[in-house]
Point group: C2
Chain length 598, copies 2
Amino acid sequence: MKASIVGALGAVIAAACVSAVPSPVDPFDLGSASHALYPRMSAGQSGDGSNNDKSKCPSSNGTAVSGYQYAPYSEPVRPQIHFSPTVNFMNDPNGLVYSNGTWHLFYQYNPTQNVAGNQHWGHAISTDLYHWENLPIAIAPEKEGEGIFSGNAVIDFENTSGFFNESTPKDQRIVAFYTLNTATSQTQHVAYSSDGVTFTKYAPAVVERNQTQFRDPKVFWDNKSSRWIMALALSQEFGIVFYASSNMKDWSEVSRFQSYGILGYQYECPDLFQVPVEGGPDDGKMMYVLAISINPGAPIGGSFVQYWVGDWDGTNFTPRDQAVRTMDFSKDFYAFSSWSNSPGNKAYAIAWANNWEYSQVVPTSPFRSIQSLPRELTLKYYRTTPQFGDLILNNRPVNLSAISSKTLYSKKSAQGSKNNQTVALNGKGAFDIQATFKLPANTNITYNTIGSFEIFAGDGKQSVKTGIQMGEPTFAFIDRRKAGSSFADSNPFFTDKTSGIIRYQANYTDDQYVLGPLPTSAYLDQSKQDRYISLQAVVDRSVIEVFVNDGELAGTSVFYFDNDQIPAKAQVSVGDNKLELVDLEVKALQSIWKTCQH
Amino acid sequence: MKASIVGALGAVIAAACVSAVPSPVDPFDLGSASHALYPRMSAGQSGDGSNNDKSKCPSSNGTAVSGYQYAPYSEPVRPQIHFSPTVNFMNDPNGLVYSNGTWHLFYQYNPTQNVAGNQHWGHAISTDLYHWENLPIAIAPEKEGEGIFSGNAVIDFENTSGFFNESTPKDQRIVAFYTLNTATSQTQHVAYSSDGVTFTKYAPAVVERNQTQFRDPKVFWDNKSSRWIMALALSQEFGIVFYASSNMKDWSEVSRFQSYGILGYQYECPDLFQVPVEGGPDDGKMMYVLAISINPGAPIGGSFVQYWVGDWDGTNFTPRDQAVRTMDFSKDFYAFSSWSNSPGNKAYAIAWANNWEYSQVVPTSPFRSIQSLPRELTLKYYRTTPQFGDLILNNRPVNLSAISSKTLYSKKSAQGSKNNQTVALNGKGAFDIQATFKLPANTNITYNTIGSFEIFAGDGKQSVKTGIQMGEPTFAFIDRRKAGSSFADSNPFFTDKTSGIIRYQANYTDDQYVLGPLPTSAYLDQSKQDRYISLQAVVDRSVIEVFVNDGELAGTSVFYFDNDQIPAKAQVSVGDNKLELVDLEVKALQSIWKTCQH
């Protein structure tokens, strides 16, 4: 039935000239630059994208062509490798499911305005989690004033719902769960699709409880109890309620996870999912992670995501401890959601890369907000301190080689090198910068033992910076203080600097893979051995995502250069020269968007 | 024995001309300005404090006179109503105890350098928690390389320790507990004082466990089990261990509070103390609060304080839930500690107003770091959401009338007023600004429905801002983005903007004082009634402390104006004019420090 999907999408693809499905004609061939993604970068072209006949470029977000303000996907603030809607406002990722070789991304979408409201489920698909093809809106409200709020989707392989007939291949039986928001209630509803494009609503609410703050269903098939489980947020009561069902229609409450972690003002988007352990004696073993998004009231201001690692016994989720851990140290990572039915016991996820404190006023037009890079999740064992062992949720970007193009700089294992490096960022504003810093044994560090990337705009003045500061523990930071002032000066919530701590690399043998307190004798004196820290920054016009030590720590910050500037130069520095820059690789990343050419 | 304290302090007072003990001659009489607190503000005076004969101004922090770089307590960055050491580096408050009419403040102090290290217990006393008299260092290490780390103090009324003879009045029997830090261990020690000035060490360690990360004893007499209880941090194991003793010398472990809340890299400064409930059916009832400081690894970056409300049964602390709450929404409030033996079932506390991410490099000289305002704590019942009731730790500054001088502006209950207001901040850089904003019923708010105070430096360019943004919920924020750029531009951790959420004022009758989830029917639609929000900012040269709704939410941020500027003008604004400024009062606060004059 792959064919039928392609068939169903045919008309869409033809209309959606901003799609980026790989084609025999390499869409990434910069040589044939008859259309400038970023007109200002190409001499001799007008700045208004006039190579494109906009009248022939309908929006695949379902919006009339008049909605366009500019050549689609070419705006200076428009990320080139992150998913964003052509026009108007997007927030949470929804309905993430892998079906018949295709990754589905639905998302909270307002098709009529560039602020939140009038919520629909927008829709895009991909075969590699990078190149997205925009599809028509999947689920829309029936009445004005109602909204199709967040939820998730699963494959109903065995047709437990009865929604499908036997001609629909098993892995194409998509059932989506969402919250219907009205002025007086939030109730849980179901819609299903046999072709992955058009959805049919099942009329009755499947879960309701006379509540206005009850939302964001996450459903999974539970092998332990052989039934469907739905997690829901009783948002302003700070409860995650679990329901069970055999047929997806009749649900009964089975347990509750109440008042854990940072409460803030609302719990949202609960996601209970399985994640493989990476390395060590439990390598490959699947464990449960419960993620809860908080908004507002995160300590960092506004929105953030916290999680617990624990056990699901078929009825209850029991976290390993009462501690709360955060998934991303910076301020623009919210409404985290994992993909259902990921192949090969892998866990993939994405999050909305913005913060409700300012998301509706950020200076992007005609669209607002992007999704984070897709991330592959594992649980890795770390010494969070010399005396404590922990399983930490590792999140690294899904393999970027699918979108890497030109290597702009590469230096591997340069012995004893301590030099700084400046690299011109020739390309469309999207780059992958990876370095390894070495701190030799017995080095006396200072406050300036910092390894950093400063990414400058074309004007050479504005910049966004990320780095690590060696210490006990070592910090990672993102600093957008100089990344444009017109928005930052006027908004009291657009925090400039964020930071997190980097954990020890654990030695499974020495540590015996102990969770919790470790014997003091297990102390590792890191100052007496060479230390290596890897830092990766994916910079994409108006967003930077930072990954330390292959995803042990991640941070996501959006930024908004003034005067239509895009990233143009990277300066890699080693502060007081006590660190050595041993490896450095800078790659241009290719836009995932084809521009309109007819 | 008050006399004997005064006697013992006589020599100190004579030498310590920076003391500010109220005297018959009003030390706050600005008319007799023969000594300029802030020379640059007074025409015709040299800027180096030359009115003071520095050779006659020994430091009461125990440092040689050569340590002075400037007329003491007159530097532009020097807060005038917050405690700070004359010279060199201070961090955690320690040994807070009320004894014989005197509030004792000990503090982590490096008497030889303006960075952390060589830790001693500095000492100051007060009769009103504002006017501090510097005393000689109270507890010093015996050997180089050792440090007297944080701890607390109690009154041993019944001489359970045997350290005192009967001639010492009961409420003057001070026993201090501290951690002795060496290269190979952290052990817990005791020192005692009969005169409140000189301390005698009890030689043996009283608690040890072959640990290098085991510190910060907090001791209290437990009426429930009729014994002393000591809380200690197993810092890098994320445990709070409780010990019990009948004689202060022999301690045995009784319970542990393990892996709660944000772990970060270290637990520090546990404080289990009693706090009175304010208002409602339990008014005056004492409840237990456990505060734990985290550093680094707070979500906001670096250091912060989290707390739990719960029960102490004589052996175990049991929090009411697994949620973690924070005590201050901003970035400069750490090592929170409460006073032992506060009179009248009151709870008073103070915290170090800085953050380890940058505290050792902030641009203040010849001293670094200040303590927060003293705060009075209560537990108040709030609707944290329309559907959830909670007891929240309220913290408001101890009555500022003790240090208020001139009223610079006052407008009370100006009917229907919507205007903005600019007030010249005439004084020494310390001011108390209080406003009440009203949002009339049925107002459609916008992102700019903001009530704010912007405090400008004398240059009219630099400023620090605080405010509230109306919404569901309403936010409070502090923004130091424009408060000096030379330090902020160079430090990757000095975050500009912080924010928190404001809870509903609860109605005890309607809500029936329910903790946790409330019936949905209890919903209060605040948009349909007039709302009032009070905002107080205490600005003191290089620090701003913000209190919303009389302490329901508090935030503390330091800031560093460039070019020796101090606060000079306050601009009170109501954004889009949908808020009304109904009350405004601006008062100058008098310096708590007398300058040296001989």
